[in-house]
């Protein structure tokens, strides 16, 4: 009897342990919403090293990048994550848009080509996520085809999501608009640039991890 109870409790404990550890956490969203900035902030806080470079030019991340075993300890709770930062998903890429940022034609064309490949990679990775943070720019219109497609795909795959409304430090930011666009999901407003409201973000991250 004692052995059965012991084995039962070990299975339960293992189940909890397995569930809360090595969660594959994806960062998805449109280009330039701050996915890498947020992933960098988390990785730098807990591992001391960043995950990738950021730029004001869209499609800076053009390949999926990872950080394994990111251990987060917050208010006595622990979480181990595999952070998966993905290229921004867009329905349209035009190399001429990059010329405005000072890139020459050759560089712009290469960036556009790599960006299209990055989008394909991001979509392919959707199936491998345990949970996803959707990073949106709170100063942009949240009712976009890309946002609706990403969320629809995650819901269809039963992957738990947390919506992060980034860039709340900007004057144009409209957190309420993001909340009203996705009323059935939790939305956390942050600024990955200056670290505003990261406490609330970590609270929500632990809640998200429980759903996996």
């Amino acid at each position: 009897m004692l052995r059965i109870l012991k084995s039962f409790s070990q299975r339960i404990l293992f189940g909890i342990f397995r569930k809360r550890n090595n969660i594959r956490l994806g960062f998805y969203g449109p280009p330039n919403s701050g996915k890498t900035s947020l992933a960098n902030l988390i990785c730098k806080d807990w591992t001391g090293a960043e995950i990738g470079s950021v730029s004001h030019i869209p499609h800076e991340t053009r390949a999926v990048q990872f950080k394994e075993k990111v251990e987060i300890e917050y208010k006595g709770k622990k979480l181990t994550l595999k952070i998966v930062d993905t290229p921004g998903i867009a329905t349209k890429i035009d190399y001429e848009n990059f010329l405005k940022f000072g890139l020459n034609k050759k560089e712009a064309k290469r960036r556009a080509k790599e960006a299209t490949q990055g989008i394909i990679e991001s979509i392919k990775w959707l199936d491998d996520m345990d949970a996803v943070i959707i990073v949106l720019d709170s100063s942009e219109n949240p009712y976009s085809q890309v946002n609706i497609t990403i969320i629809g795909n995650l819901v269809a795959r039963k992957i738990p999501i947390l919506i992060v409304a980034n860039k709340i430090d900007l004057k144009k930011a409209n957190m309420k608009k993001v909340e009203s666009a996705f009323p059935e999901y939790e939305v956390v407003g942050i600024s990955a640039r200056d670290g505003t409201n990261m406490e609330e973000f970590y609270e929500s991250l632990f809640k998200l991890a429980k759903k996996t």
Binding site: Y95, A112, Q117, I120, K124, Q145, V155
Partner: protein, 66 residues
Amino acid sequence: MKSRNRIRGLSLQVIPFSEVKDLSIGERVKKILNLILGNKIVILHGRLRPEEEARLIEDTMAMVDH
């Protein structure tokens, strides 16, 4: 404006849902993309499922030749 950028009229094509309802995701997306590549604006009755929308984006990006 260069002549190649000029719009010389629009061509719309309506796809009734009955025409795509029995197709697989791949076939449905292929049908839509073939029409779009023929410079047609496609109006689809009904709507695509999220997986089909993602596949449409994925296949479009794979076909883009910069």
